[in-house]
Symmetry: C2
Subunit: 345 residues, 2 copies
Amino acid sequence: MGTEISTIGEFGLIKRLTEDIKLVNSSSIKGVGDDAAVLSYPSDKRILVTTDMLMEGVHFDLVYTPLRHLGYKSAVVNFSDIYAMNGTPKQITVSIAISKRFEIEHIDEFFSGIKLACENYGVDIVGGDTTSSLTGFAISITCIGEVDKDKIVCRDGAKETDLVCVTGNLGASYMGLQLLEREKAVFRTSKADDIQPDFAGKEYILERQLKPEARKDIIEALDKAGIIPTSMMDISDGLSSELLHICNQSQVGCRIYEENIPIDYQTAVMAEELQMSPMTAALNGGEDYELLFTVPLANHEKISSIPGVKLLGHITKKDLSAALITKDGKELELQAQGWNPLINK
Amino acid sequence: MGTEISTIGEFGLIKRLTEDIKLVNSSSIKGVGDDAAVLSYPSDKRILVTTDMLMEGVHFDLVYTPLRHLGYKSAVVNFSDIYAMNGTPKQITVSIAISKRFEIEHIDEFFSGIKLACENYGVDIVGGDTTSSLTGFAISITCIGEVDKDKIVCRDGAKETDLVCVTGNLGASYMGLQLLEREKAVFRTSKADDIQPDFAGKEYILERQLKPEARKDIIEALDKAGIIPTSMMDISDGLSSELLHICNQSQVGCRIYEENIPIDYQTAVMAEELQMSPMTAALNGGEDYELLFTVPLANHEKISSIPGVKLLGHITKKDLSAALITKDGKELELQAQGWNPLINK
């Protein structure tokens, strides 16, 4: 049995959630507790701002999402956007709206995940809003970060002959989601009392869905290697959709090779089990939070030596459009079939 | 008949809403269209960040709130928090979650209000998120502003003998809300087909509720007069609650005088009609978005000459606590009975 939030009210809840916060970044001057947070950045830095809104029933299902993981993921997906600009996340604000069914202990769990993510990535919680909703749980996080002003990487800088690179592997998070949805359906339709979900050997794809990480390590490795990508973004809606963003904004085309697309063993096994194509998960699945970027051809040797980076193909002239070369040599035009919350309901 | 949002999808909607945005502030380097917005502030400025979340059915009722007004108000309440730090708002991000009942034209209306507020206050829209919700409309806005680093005003600087000042008048927004709720109830219970709400002579309190303004003018007047308040905040939860914040954070007490509390004629008339105390509306009503601040006693003459500023009383030692002196000379301890979304459901 938990404790009703109305016993402590909004100010009591805010105090409980924020009283142990210690600011670690020199750019965080004043955090929670006034009309606004106060930050201070040196003038040789550019300031990056990104924001994400997550709605219960649309972006997450509390039937199989632990609140602590949800907190962690909510923060990390924002950090990922800052890294995707070649920056470093420094502050977040966390706003939540909660319905009556949530108790103080639920919110504690959610915030413990947010705080763990902030600790792992060196980010300060400097503000937010805590309010109620008629139904469901709504989360809105804004992340602020910094980047040296001559090192910003946008989506519009890819040039012909640049190498197209991706980190980690793709499609795992999507297959993790399919697994969770399958087990939820089994649980709901079963008459047995003692039914347990079957997750053995599938821990990796579950973790990729429930507790993803942002590629801080890659941004640091690129910096160490002296590489500034010509364009970059994180993969939240699927490789196809993101590659098309880079091609459209950079006014170029690309050729990527199916055989180069990194897919984990567990992703492939799960796809086979569900009679789906692992390539569809990789191209259109989304929620990978890997980095997609382009580097000049001259960086070939340097980029090949960074662990966790895979070369997918290269940038072409715009009139060659964006295409996937399949293993049997066919050329397929890439389509943006990524997850779209306003269509895929 | 409107147009379903699924006909254009998330990217189509974002394009529609943002393609006419022109950035006006030199600190806005890059707005919507990448993983994060890019800002640049000089090092003699502090950066202010505030965020607010508004949920349908909790913070607003679309039965009587025009979407254009809702957009305007959503932006302005954030600007108000930046002014309350003695700052100037410069950028906002706008995130919305919408259910299936919303059509493109609804979102156009809402954004037209946001854009009008941004135009009136010189603020750039630099980012946001557009997604779906299972039920209701959710809005989350983050505002970024700037202030000279030696001019920041927080809640914790009030000193004994300082004058307590407030702008405009109080309680009007609350009485406007009561009027709207009354007319809604009349409409719902009436059997007549042609019933029309009775708003004659009450335009001011309705405007205060539906389309409030932030006190940019006062921040500019204080600057012109060479006054830096010792503490300041905006009144969103009611005068009592906010005065207690200043007293608690500044470790002081205060004496304010009932006869000095500014109440508009329409507020008083509406309160009488509803057999309520206008003083309750002023002390605990909330959503006034006026500024509450303290200045050194030496500023008495200067502050008295600024139109729209009223002296409420003065700051005392902490052990005298925070009290209201009534018109008949009684001393009442101030209580935080402001609106609390996690209790007052």
